[in-house]
Every structure is written in C-alpha cells, then in structure tokens.
C-alpha cells in the first residue's frame, strides 16, 4: 500500500495504539478495559501496520511469530491459574501482593489476576495478528 499519508500516519498511530492498549490493560480491573479490550486495541495497531506497510514489515517489527505470542499468552494465563496451587488454593484463585500498603491505601497491587489479564492480552493480540497476517499474505 503505497500511501505516504497512511504510512506516516501509521508510524505514529501504531505506537499510540499499542501504548493505549497497555493502558487499557492495566486499568481494566478498575475501569473499562482489560485484557480483551487491550489485546484487541493492540492488535489493531499492528493490523494497521500490516495494511499500510505490508505484513513483512509488520512481522519484522513484531519479531516473534504471532501464533507463538498467542500460545505463550495461553500459557501465562494458565500459569496464573495454576499459581494458586502454590498457596494451596483452588485453580484460578487470585493471589495478591500489595506494595506500599497503608491502612488507607492498598498501594500498588500485583496479582495473578493481572498476570492472567496479561495472558489474555497476549492471546487476543497474537491470535488476531496471526489470522490477519496470514489472510493478508493470501491476497
């Protein structure tokens, strides 16, 4: 796609979309967002990349095969669920660690739930890209 305008726009938008997707991912537990939405937005960034600059460039920018990203995401989500076993809890029981916890404020939360959401993000991201890239390469 030899549109200069689109290519240049993509250069900014792609990064913006990925950044925005991470933002949606992190805040998802408290505000609209989360792994699905984040992953969908993140993938649109690279979809745009692929539409504007071709899949070869998009794949090169991504470095890892999208299928592997997706499958690794599944693995991460699974591990987040299995992690509960270490604490003697049932599968997918959230494990929380609050950094800087004070009586008024819980501080910065780190949790297997967030890890799970990251896994979801990667799955959605990788899956959509593997479909779109493969499809793109067919035409």
């Amino acid at each position: 796609m030899n549109s200069i305008i689109l290519r240049v726009g993509t250069r900014y938008l792609c990064g913006l979309l990925v950044l925005f997707s991470l933002y949606m991912l992190i805040r998802g537990h408290n505000e609209p967002g989360g792994g699905f939405i984040g992953g969908l937005i993140g993938s649109t960034g690279f979809v745009l990349f692929a539409l504007a600059c071709g899949t070869a460039d998009a794949r090169a920018a991504l470095k890892v095969m999208p299928q592997n990203i997706a499958m690794a995401g599944l693995g991460i989500a699974l591990l987040a669920g299995i992690a509960a076993a270490v604490f003697g809890d049932a599968l997918f029981t959230g494990q929380w660690l609050f950094i800087n916890e004070t009586p008024e404020d819980k501080g910065i939360p780190l949790s297997t739930v967030l890890v799970f959401d990251i896994g979801v993000y990667l799955v959605v991201f990788g899956s959509i890209l593997s479909i779109v890239f493969a499809m793109e390469e067919e035409i």
Binding site: S3, I5, L6, G9, Y12, L13
Partner: protein, 107 residues
C-alpha cells in the same frame, strides 16, 4: 453558566452530526460527501466532547475529551484520504456543475 455553555456546545455538536448526515445524503458525489462526513462530522463530535469536558470539568475527563478529539483529528483525515484515493483509482471523477457525472456502482 458553564452548564449552559456545555449545553450549547452539545447541541451544536449534535446538530453538526445531522448536518453531516444531510451532507452525505444531499451532496452530489463521493468527494463532496466526504467533506461533510469527515469534517462536519468530526467537528460535531468535537463539539460534543468539548461540551462533555465543560460539563464534567474534571482534569481526568477533560484530558480524555481532548484525547478523543485529538485522535479523531488524527485518524479521520487519513480515512478520508484513503477513500478519496480509492475513488480516484476506481475512476470516479469529481462532480462538476457543468457536466453531469455518472457514478459507477460498486462491486
């Protein structure tokens, strides 16, 4: 006072949306319709967002509204450019008042 300003902005924005719609219907060819859709529409949404920003008047929300408008301003012209380019390549010539132009239907 702020509420009134917000209401006016919102109303104008919504009206712009209708105007864009009317433009898309009434204007004679795809290029002119694009003018209406991309710009009048964007302006409309922008005004609504401005109204919302005024209405909430919280920094977080204002930033969000600004971002929305910014994103719209960033993406809408790119989309319009793509449509326009495609129209030209499809062989659609701009409508001119002098000669009546046949629009080719799509596939």
């Amino acid at each position: 006072m702020i509420d009134l300003a917000a209401a006016i902005l919102v109303f104008l924005g919504a009206a712009m949306t209708v105007a864009a719609g009317v433009g898309v219907i009434r204007l004679p060819d795809v290029f002119t319709r694009m003018h209406a859709a991309t710009k009048v529409g964007t302006l409309g949404s922008g005004l609504v967002m401005a109204g919302a920003a005024l209405h909430f008047a919280e920094p977080g929300i204002i930033v969000r509204c600004v971002l929305i408008v910014f994103f719209l301003l960033l993406t809408a012209p790119i989309g319009a450019h793509m449509i326009g380019r495609a129209s030209l390549r499809l062989g659609i010539n701009p409508w001119t008042p002098r000669q009546k132009q046949d629009s080719k239907p799509d596939s």
